[in-house]
């Protein structure tokens, strides 16, 4: 217990502090409020539809728009908070007061990363909670599938936040990691195109062409592919013939944890000898 306390006590303390400090940021609150407006406003989207058509299109619209809003704003919140936590501490010199204490750099990073995850989780739960209420009021039953969607959305964000965090550990201001995080988000969603490059390469038979194909193939295998998480959209609408999610969801969770670990390891390797 003493061992655990000595190893994890510091990181947990830093995590709570990071959470308390991060949750107050104006930009974060702005994103959250915007997302709540969109979620709330989606309930009115049905006014654009033909009322004589007695279907559940408005319910589908609400679900899709809300899941997308949570995904977009959640991604913005994730990138922003992951990119700014460490550089902000360097700018305000708070990092000096922390690293001068008996806190190892890896403990510091762990604490910061956990704090970031707490912020992301709370924001997701807030957005998801409002969505949950909106759906419950609309359809009168508990939308339990939504919980799985939020669950998977978090694990998607975990990957983005880990790599953005790694970039932020190399930077001295939040701007570059923020742009980096957005870049990571976009490219991780476009990893599928590497498969296309792989398939189309090698047609000329030239060495360079083949090499490109091999590189594309390697990158496609190594890089995280966020398209794997597109099931979160599908799961909300829950069609009867969907493949069993009890197979896919655990793999996705493991996938996310593995890449989060890779991202954290990158963060440590960058930060361990960083001069602050």
């Amino acid at each position: 217990m003493t061992f655990l306390s000595s190893v994890f006590g510091g990181p947990w303390c830093i995590a709570v502090y990071t959470y308390r400090e991060g949750i107050r940021r104006k930009l974060l609150i702005g994103f959250l409020i915007l997302s709540l407006f969109v979620i709330f406003g989606s309930s009115f989207i049905s006014s654009f539809l033909d009322p004589s058509a007695e279907t559940d299109i408005d319910l589908k619209l609400i679900k899709d728009i809300c899941v997308t809003a949570i995904a977009i704003f959640g991604a913005l919140i994730t990138v922003y908070i992951s990119a700014s936590v460490v550089p902000a501490e360097m700018e305000t010199k708070v990092i000096y007061t922390v690293l001068s204490k008996p806190v190892r750099r890896v403990q510091y990073l762990l604490g910061k990363f956990l704090g970031i995850q707490l912020i992301i989780l709370v924001n997701l739960l807030l957005m998801g909670g409002l969505f949950f209420i909106a759906l419950y009021m609309r359809q009168g039953i508990m939308p339990t599938l939504l919980l799985w969607s939020i669950f998977l959305t978090y694990f998607e964000f975990l990957i983005i936040s880990a790599f953005t965090f790694a970039v932020s550990c190399a930077a001295t201001s939040p701007l570059v990691p923020t742009l980096g995080g957005l870049f990571i988000y976009i490219t991780a969603n476009l990893t599928e195109y590497l498969k296309d490059v792989e398939h189309r390469a090698g047609q000329t038979g030239q060495f360079f062409d083949n090499l490109i194909g091999k590189i594309a193939s390697a990158l496609y295998s190594i890089l995280p592919n966020l398209q794997n998480f597109s099931i979160k959209m599908q799961i909300v609408n829950g069609q009867p013939n969907d493949p069993p999610t009890d197979v896919l969801i655990p793999w996705l969770v493991l996938y996310s944890l593995v890449y989060a670990l890779a991202g954290f390891a990158c963060a440590y390797l960058v930060f361990r000898r960083k001069e602050v």
Binding site: Q239, N241, W251
Partner: protein, 482 residues
């Protein structure tokens, strides 16, 4: 231990990074496998549905040929047994017939046994040779095409919703052709957008045609796919059919699509009761709302399947004994179908009696026929509504016909058909039948009614064989006229 970690933490962390990237590679492959399997599974379902419901004398497509290879493989899958097989269907088709077997089909699609077929599926999908693999979720991604849909970063569903708002706008503007194009875009973006199929088909079959007149036959063209002469208005009905079929292939477990196809289009618009029954039967095999079976029973009745309809209504009453339908509606339909069954039985027995060469047998048959006839009449009496009254009058007319009192029979039927609107067509046909039997001249409108354009009508593009058949049919009918 802690000192060791502290001393070598950089090397350990580098090791963690390499390990996690390695694990990431393995997991990427596993997820890729799962997504490829999902695409393959969805295609198998689509192909199985097509085999069971839509494959009507079509030339074997690439889908059908490949499906045949897959079903041959499925015979060897350990989880599938010969007892799963249904007559007339392949192994996969049989398994897919029951939605509760979907998980078993998924395991087949995902299995090592199907590895080569899965790879072949992806190759064919990539070359766009599989009609059913276009726009199946993940299929295009797996095929690795430069897929503009991927740019939506998984927000295809929202994009589809926004396109749907445009569809709605075009509908209100009356711009039907643009609406049609956008509908296709909408379902391409989100193949699971069931409401788009439902409302879209409704727009095509009902709203788009509401302002249109029936196309005169000389202006129609032969449609080989449906074996019909179709004008613009009629084509829209079949656009609706095609659209719903496409929806069914992509969402084979949503009862609403089968319902709208069976009831909304085949029954209400095309009056094609066999197909209506076919698709409504599919609808009730899936989780459905309570009112769905009632429409099936109505269509069965219209299709002459009185026994099935009767069983259905009785079953319904047993399941929902306290419901308003069971108390107020079902008893009437039970009686109607019972009455129709008695009538049908009586007619069959009368016919057999006429054809019988054995007088004793004929007498026995006539007695049985009378017994059923009386039961039918009792049923109509008990029904005590315009329908029952109409049928009683019809029975009176048929009795008069038996006695050779044709004019009285015709008069009775004439009264009956105007009193009972629902039976107008049937009684009108019966009047014409009696007239022909009695060599009473038909009126112009009656001749026209007999020479139904659906049976004798000609249009451009019609194959010669069909043209000759219709001409002969017209000759044959005209020869019965006085």
């Amino acid at each position: 231990m802690l000192d060791f970690i502290k001393k070598y933490q950089t090397a350990l962390m580098a090791g963690v990074l390499l390990f996690s990237l390695g694990a990431g590679v393995l997991l990427n492959n596993q997820l890729r496998h799962l997504r490829e399997s999902e695409a393959f599974y969805r295609w198998l379902l689509a192909a199985a549905v097509n085999e069971r419901l839509f494959q009507e004398n079509e030339d074997p497509s690439e889908d059908a040929l490949f499906f045949a290879r897959c079903t041959a493989l499925a015979e060897k899958f350990p989880s599938f047994s010969p007892s799963d097989k249904v007559d007339g269907l392949s192994m996969i088709g049989s398994i897919a017939k029951n939605y509760e077997n979907d998980k078993r089909l998924w395991f087949f699609a995902e299995s090592d046994l199907a590895k080569e077929e899965r790879a072949e599926f992806l190759q064919l999908a990539k070359k766009q040779k599989l009609q059913f693999a276009t726009d199946i979720e993940y299929a295009e991604a797996q095929a690795g095409g430069v897929n503009i849909f991927n740019l939506f970063f998984g927000f295809r569903k929202v994009a589809a919703n926004l396109v749907w708002l445009e569809v709605d706008r075009y509908w209100h503007q009356g711009n039907v052709y643009r609406m049609q194009t956008l509908m296709r875009t909408c379902v391409a973006l989100d193949p699971q957008f069931v409401e788009a199929y439902l409302v879209g088909a409704w727009h095509l079959s009902y709203n788009a045609t509401a302002q249109m007149q029936d196309t005169p036959w000389p202006q129609r063209e032969w449609n080989a796919k449906y074996g019909q002469c179709l004008g613009e208005k009629e084509r829209f009905y079949y656009y609706g059919v095609d659209f719903l079929r496409e929806g069914i292939r992509r969402n084979p477990r949503n009862y609403k699509l089968y319902f709208d196809l069976g009831f909304g289009i085949y029954k209400q618009k095309l009056e094609d009761y066999p197909n209506a029954v076919k698709y409504l039967s599919e609808a009730i095999r899936l989780p459905h709302d309570r009112w769905v079976p009632r429409q099936l029973f109505l269509c069965q009745e219209l299709n002459g399947q009185y026994g099935d309809a009767l069983e259905g209504w009785k079953d319904y009453v047993e399941r929902y004994p306290g419901s308003m339908t069971a108390v107020e509606v079902a008893p009437r339909f039970i009686m109607r179908n019972e009455g129709m069954l008695y009538e049908k039985e009586a007619r069959t027995l009368r016919k057999k009696a006429k054809e019988s060469t054995d007088p004793a047998e004929a007498e026995e048959l006539r007695a049985q026929a009378e017994n059923y006839w009386k039961k039918a009449r009792d049923t109509w009496n008990a029904l005590d509504d315009p329908y029952g009254e109409g049928r009683k009058l019809m029975m009176d007319a048929l009795d008069l016909r038996e006695e050779g009192r044709y004019l009285e029979a015709i008069a009775t039927l004439d009264k009956a058909r105007w009193d009972t609107g629902a039976l107008f067509e049937e009684f009108s046909s019966l009047i014409m039948e009696i007239k022909l039997e009695a060599h009473i001249p038909l009126s112009v409108s009656e001749k026209k009614a007999l020479l139904r354009e659906s049976e004798v009508g000609l249009c451009s593009g019609m194959p010669d064989e069909e043209r000759q058949r219709r001409l002969k049919s017209a000759e044959s009918i005209e020869s019965t006229f006085q």
